[in-house]
Symmetry: none
Subunit: 204 residues, 4 copies
DNA sequence: GATGAATGAGGGTTCATTCAT
DNA sequence: GATGAATGAACCCTCATTCAT
C-alpha cells in the first residue's frame, strides 16, 4: 500500500512541497468554511480563509465535489477502516453495527451540512455521492450480513439504503434542539432487529 | 357556511372569480415547479408556468413561505384529519400509527422537495416549519401516546422528533432507485416497538 | 368669480355630488401621503388612504402632475391672492415682499417634498412647474417691481428666478436640524437690497 | 510619497494596472451617467457606459455612496484646497468668500445632479453627506469667520447652512434658461453683507 | 503556478399603469 | 363609474467561473 493518495480516487497529491502545503491549507480552510456555512460556502470565502486566490482552489479542485470529497476523505477512510475492527472486537455483530453506525452518525452530525450533500439533487453531486458511498457501503453491507447471519436482524436490508437513511436523518442536526439525530438513528437501527414474534414492518 | 378556503388560516380566498381561478392556477404551477426544482424554484419560473406575471404571485403570496404553505395546505389538512379516524378504525393504536405515518410518508415522497423545507436552516422557514408541524405534531403525539398507553411501543418519543425523522428520511426519495424511503420509514417505526426482552436502543 | 373650480386650469369639478366628495377625499389622502412620503408616494398608498381603488385616482387625475397640482391648488391660490393684499397693507413694498416670500416659504417648507417637484428634471413635471409658477410669478414680479420702483432693491431680478431660488432653498427643509430654510431665504431676499454704497453682487 | 490615491481616504487604488485603468474608466462613465440621469443612475447603465460588467462596479465601489464620493473626490479636494489660498491672495476676506463660493457653485452647476445628493433623504446618503460636507464646511467656516472678524458680514452664519443653501440653489441648474443658479448664489452671499444701517434680515 | 479582476447569468422585489369585472 | 387584479419593465445584488497579469 503506497502512501500517495490514490486509493478510492480523488485528486492526486502534487509533487512540489509548497504545493502540497498549499493543498493542506486549502482543505483546512474549506473544512472550516463548511462548518460555518455548509458545503455550499462561496468559493471566495474559502479562498480568503486559506489566504490564496480563487484560482488556486480551482486548480487543485476543479469542481466543488472534488473539494468536498477531499475535505472529508480522511474521516471517511477512518470510518471505513473502523468497520472490520469493530466486527472483530464487539461481542456480537449487531453490537458492532450499532457502534459503527454511531461513528458514521457522529461524523455526519459534527460536519454540519455534509449530510445534505448526499442528496442526489444536483447532478454534480453524483460524483460525490458515489465517492462517499462506494467507500462505506461495502463496510455496512459486511456488518449487516454478519448480523443477519447471526440471526440478530432481519435479512434483506442493503447497506446503501441504511447509509442513505442514516445520512438523511442527520440532515439539519444541531439546528433544532428538539430533534436529536442520534436518537432517530438508534431507532432506525433498532428497527432492524428481528421482531419478537409477529408484525414485521411491511415496507410496502 | 360557505366552501371558501377559511379553515385553519392562511391566505384568504380572493373575491373576484378570475382571481380565484388564478390563485388555483398558481398553486398548481407552484406545485409542479416545486416537484421539478424544489421549493426554492425561481418566482419567475413559477409565474411562467402559471402563465401569469410575477406580480400576481407576490399579490397572492407575499412571501415564499406563504406560497409553500398554501401549496401543501390541503394535503396537510387531510393528513391531520386522518389521524383520529385511523385511531378509531384500526385494530390497535400501533397499527393506526403505522398507517398514519404511511400516509404522511406518501405525502412527502410524492411531493419531492417538500421534505427539505422542514429544515430550520433558513430563517424565513420558521413560519413554514411551524405551519406544517403545528398541524401534524399533535396528531402524531396522540397516536404515539395511545400506542404507548397500549404497551405497544416504548414511551418517551415525541411527535416532533418522529415527524422530523420521517421527513428527513423522505428527502430525495424517488431520485435513487436503490433508496426506498418507505422502507426506511417503516424501519424507523418498527424501532419504536417495545423490544421482546432485552437490548433497548440507547439513543444516547 | 364663479365657484366652479375653473380658474387657472386643472381638473374640472365633476358633476355628481358623490364624485365631488370622492375627489375631496382623494385630495386629502394625497396630501397626507405627500407629507409622509413625498410627492412621489406610490399610487397604491394614496388610493388605500382614500379608501378607493387606484383606478379612481387615474380617472380623476390622469397624471401625477394633475394630482399634485390639485392638491396644492388652494394654497397656491391663497398665496397668489395674498400678494396684492400685502402690498396694500405693508409700510413699504420691500416689507410686503419679505412677508410674501415668507408665506411662500412656509407653504413649501410645511409641504414636505413639494419643493423638489419644482425641479424640471422629469419631463412630466413641466406641466406642474408651469402650473405653479404661472400663478405666482406675476405676483412676485409685481412685488419686485414695486420695491425696485421704490428704490428699496436693486432692479433687474425676475420673479421667476427668485421663486425658483426660494423653492430650491426649501428642498429638504426639516430633514436636517442644522439647516433652516427660512434663514437662507431671508438671506436671499436681503441680498436684493440696494447696497449702501459699493460692491454690488455681480451675478456673473 | 507615491502619487496613488491615498489622500483623504476613500477607495484605495487597486494594485493591478488594468484594474486601475478600469477604475478610472468607471469613474468617467459614472460621472457621465450622473450628468444624464442623476446620481441614482442604474448600475447597469453605468457599467454599460464603461464597457464593464456590473460586478466590476460592485468590486470597486461596494455601495453607491462610495461611487458618488469617488466621482467627485478630486473636485471636492480642489475646492477645499482653494479656500486658504483665496484667503491669502484676496484683497479682503469677503472677496475670498465670494470667490470661493463661486468655485463651489461652478462645481455643483457643472455636475448636474450632484446637488440633489446633499439631501439627507435617503439613509445611505448620510455617509455621502458627511463625506462631502466634512471636507468643505470647515473651509467655509474659516472664510465666514474671517469675513465676520473683518466686519464685512454679519456674524452668526454657519458654514453648513451656507453650503446647503448654495447646494440647493444649484439644483436643476442648466435645465431652465430663466434660472441662473450663479445669480441666485451671488444674491445669497450678498445677503450676508452687513447692512448699511437698519433692517437686518429676520431669519425667524 | 498563483492571483484576483472581470464577467454576467440568475434570482429577488417594487410599482406605475392597464383593463376585466 | 369604481375596483383592484394582473402585467412586466426596471432595479438591485450575489457569486461561480474564466483568464489576463
Amino acid at each position: 500500500m503506497n502512501t500517495s493518495d490514490q486509493g478510492t480516487g480523488g485528486t492526486p497529491a502534487p509533487k512540489r512541497k509548497d504545493a502540497r502545503r498549499n493543498q493542506r491549507t486549502l482543505l483546512e480552510a474549506a473544512a472550516a468554511a463548511f462548518v460555518d456555512a455548509g458545503v455550499e460556502a462561496p468559493v471566495r470565502d474559502i479562498a480568503a480563509r486559506a489566504g490564496v486566490g480563487m484560482g488556486t482552489i480551482y486548480r487543485h479542485f476543479p469542481t466543488r465535489a472534488d473539494l468536498i470529497i477531499a475535505v472529508y476523505r480522511h474521516q471517511v477512510d477512518a470510518c471505513a477502516e473502523a468497520g472490520p475492527a469493530l466486527l472483530a472486537s464487539s461481542p456480537t455483530p449487531y453490537a458492532a453495527l450499532e457502534e459503527w453506525i454511531g461513528l458514521f452518525t457522529d461524523f455526519l452530525v459534527t460536519k454540519h451540512g455534509l449530510a445534505a450533500v448526499l442528496q442526489p439533487d444536483h447532478p454534480q453531486f453524483e460524483t460525490l455521492h458515489a465517492s462517499f458511498l462506494d467507500r462505506l457501503v461495502p463496510v455496512c453491507d459486511q456488518l449487516l450480513d454478519a448480523a443477519a447471519d447471526h440471526g440478530e436482524i432481519r435479512p434483506g436490508y442493503a447497506g446503501i439504503e441504511l447509509m442513505r437513511g442514516v445520512g438523511n436523518l442527520c440532515i439539519g442536526a444541531g439546528t433544532d434542539p428538539r430533534y436529536d439525530a442520534r436518537r432517530m438513528v438508534a431507532l432506525l437501527v433498532a428497527g432492524l432487529r428481528r421482531p419478537a414474534g409477529n408484525s414485521a414492518p411491511a415496507g410496502r
